[in-house]
């Protein structure tokens, strides 16, 4: 398979890059001054694209690579892939579900605790020597607080399971009520936000869920409420989030994803009631390796005419 051209859209994982280099003819998208330069030179050489949540396979790329047979994404989210176009052109698409579920759920709880108990802020407090001047302030208890989850898929359920260990009552919003859980269902996000203190975004990004956490939802959550976003930046109306936080209409936020990564609204840097992470939901070496192995496994299966491991299209 060393002659098969594979395009890696951005640096995402050293192990993955090394293995792709070993097994295929690897092209690194970022080695070229512009995408046009790359397409002009190599458009006919690429039979597979490995993308992620930063750069996937959009319409322009799909049209520019006529020999593309498969897009193997190092992510579970598919919002950066033009799925309709792939379907149309019979391009296979694979992602990396399940292996990252637990890590993302772990991070959601970590963000809740860091935000409510002010862990990052108090770490800054100690490192700056401020503790010598006096004790830190009171922080918000987590155990027993009502948690609302948007999206009760694999990740949403894993978040719920963990929050239950903290005796939190769980409620959720989903496109339809789910059978087989005891969690309270709300048919709208505003109602969910009105009835919880911690709102966790755990659904997929689709045209319907864009800005699903908007001003109305944040106002319903209120000055003691906290938004935890482990989905996609575009789930939350970022401008509204910033003004709600700055004006004190929203109590706090723990955010792993942003509308325009890696750019983060600078107004947030001045706030102590937010925790900001650089999209590390699946960022453990164990999970990244498992994701990389899925990417590699899917590519090999495709080129050996075997069934794909985790096909989406």
């Amino acid at each position: 398979m060393e002659s098969i051209g594979v395009l890696l859209t951005c640096p995402m994982n050293t192990y993955l890059e090394q293995e792709l280099d070993k097994r295929f003819k690897l092209f690194r998208f970022w080695d070229y001054p512009s995408s046009k330069d790359f397409f002009n030179e190599h458009s006919n050489s690429i039979r597979a694209v490995v993308g992620n949540t930063t750069i996937g396979a959009d319409a322009e790329m799909i049209e520019a690579l006529p020999k593309m047979e498969i897009v193997s994404s190092m992510s579970v989210g598919l919002d950066k892939i033009d799925l309709a176009r792939c379907k149309e052109k019979k391009i296979r698409v694979t992602n990396t579900p399940d292996v990252l579920t637990e890590d993302v759920a772990d991070l959601a709880i970590g963000l809740i605790l860091a935000t409510l108990r002010r862990i990052c802020e108090s770490d800054r407090y100690v490192r700056s020597g401020s503790w010598k001047a006096g004790d830190f302030k009171l922080t918000t208890k987590f155990t027993g607080k009502p948690v609302g989850i948007i999206g009760l898929g694999r990740i949403g359920l894993a978040v719920a399971k963990r929050a239950e260990a903290f005796d939190c009552p769980i409620s959720y919003y989903s496109r339809a009520e789910k059978r087989g859980t005891n969690y309270k269902y709300y048919p709208s996000v505003v109602e969910l936000a009105s009835n919880c203190q911690i709102l966790v975004v755990a659904c997929a990004l689709t045209p319907e869920t864009r800005h699903i956490v908007n001003r109305e939802v944040m106002d319903a959550l209120g000055p003691k409420g906290v938004v935890i976003n482990i989905g996609r930046g575009s789930h939350v109306d970022e401008r509204e989030l910033v003004s709600a936080l700055v004006e004190g209409r929203l109590g706090g936020a723990g955010i792993d994803v942003f509308e325009n990564e890696p750019h983060v609204p600078e107004e947030l840097f001045a706030l102590d009631n937010v925790v900001l992470l650089p999209h590390v939901g699946s960022g453990t070496w164990e999970t990244r390796k498992a994701m990389a192995d899925l990417v590699l496994g899917n590519l090999e299966a495709h080129f050996l005419n075997k069934p794909l491991l985790t096909p989406v299209v």
């Binding site: 890590d103 605790l113 108990r117 503790w131 010598k132 260990a165 890696p262």
Partner: protein, 328 residues
């Protein structure tokens, strides 16, 4: 029957506990407060002059009840402390004099456990480090935080050794099980009816764990219990979280191990000489430091206040204490 005017009972306070600033006003109708720290007299003289007939004292972690102080309180019958820990109290002296002690019981256990888990997840998933990275505007330049060996570690499957499986330790265990951690523990005695693996000494626990979470009391046996040997047994990838007392760990040794990469990371809420924290820790990305705030929530303070007053009222009306510390 006319109601008798209640004469407020005397309550001695040597140093104000952290909850005092918010709750002081609530003590007044019920108790006559003797506030030693407000007097210009040195404490022993203050006690001799004013505290001769004091039966009850309110203590806290930072308000030691040494044998010297106890000697100046001939009528003392009860010490109520806002802390769970008792290391600031001369226990043998209290035993000799028959002085009862009431502490914070289990009301603080949830908040302490929450913080322990919060620190643990932070260290493994680099939450404070990631937040620093974003706030210093490094993300646009570096693109991916996890490149360059900044990847975090999975919690699921981690063997977590809990040092001290009391009320707090049990709450920590319950939470971490939901993350898929495998729990084992060391305690003075094995606990019945638990599925967690028991190790009779802390070094063996460390050798069989990926992380240690310290939830035990500080006393003569546990002082510097986490020493070089234990840290070596834990290993280079090992993580230590301490929400007990700073002196349970040999702090000098801990700092050295962290600086030299002999252990993987630490989440610390307590230190040997608070509020002093070893400066070498400030440059490390694999440690998370919090200023002894495990119980700093409105709920814990309110519950502590209720329990303190409940214990005092029980004592002064000859009823059983709500949260007595029993001799074991």
């Amino acid at each position: 029957m006319a109601a008798e005017a209640e004469v407020p009972s005397q309550l001695l306070i040597l140093k104000p506990p952290p909850l005092f600033s918010d709750y002081e006003y609530k003590f007044y109708p019920k108790f006559q407060l003797l506030k030693a720290w407000e007097s210009p007299l040195p404490t022993p003289l203050f006690l001799t002059t004013h505290a001769h007939s004091v039966k009850a004292v309110l203590s806290s972690g930072s308000s030691p009840m040494t044998s010297d102080i106890l000697r100046h309180l001939p009528s003392l019958q009860l010490i109520v402390t806002t802390s769970v820990g008792l290391n600031q109290i001369d226990l043998p002296a209290c035993r000799r004099r028959g002085i009862s002690i009431a502490n914070a019981g289990k009301v603080l256990s949830e908040d302490c456990a929450d913080l322990a888990v919060g620190l643990f997840v932070d260290v493994l998933r680099k939450i404070s480090a990631g937040d620093r990275f974003v706030r210093s505007s490094l993300w646009p330049a570096q693109n991916d935080f996890t490149l360059g060996s900044k990847e975090g570690e999975r919690l699921g499957g981690k063997k977590v050794g809990i040092v001290g499986l009391g009320s707090i330790g049990l709450e920590v265990a319950k939470r971490l099980e939901a993350f898929g951690c495998i729990i084992s523990y060391n305690s003075r005695r094995k606990k019945a009816n638990l599925s967690y693996l028991f190790y009779s000494n802390v070094c063996e626990l460390a050798a069989n764990s990926d992380a240690l979470i310290i939830c035990c009391v500080l006393n003569d046996e546990t002082h510097h219990m986490i020493n070089k040997e234990v840290m070596k047994a834990l290993g280079k990838e090992g993580v230590i979280v301490n929400i007990g007392r700073g002196a349970i760990i040999d702090e000098k040794e801990l700092v050295q191990c962290l600086v030299q990469g002999e252990i993987g990371g630490a989440g610390l809420d307590v230190f040997e000489n608070e509020p002093d924290v070893p400066k070498e820790l400030f440059t490390l990305d694999n440690v998370v430091l919090s200023p002894h705030l495990a119980v700093f929530t409105p709920e814990s303070f309110s519950d502590k206040y209720d329990l303190v007053v409940g214990n005092l009222e029980a004592f002064f009306s000859n009823k059983p204490l709500l949260s007595p510390v029993l001799d074991e």
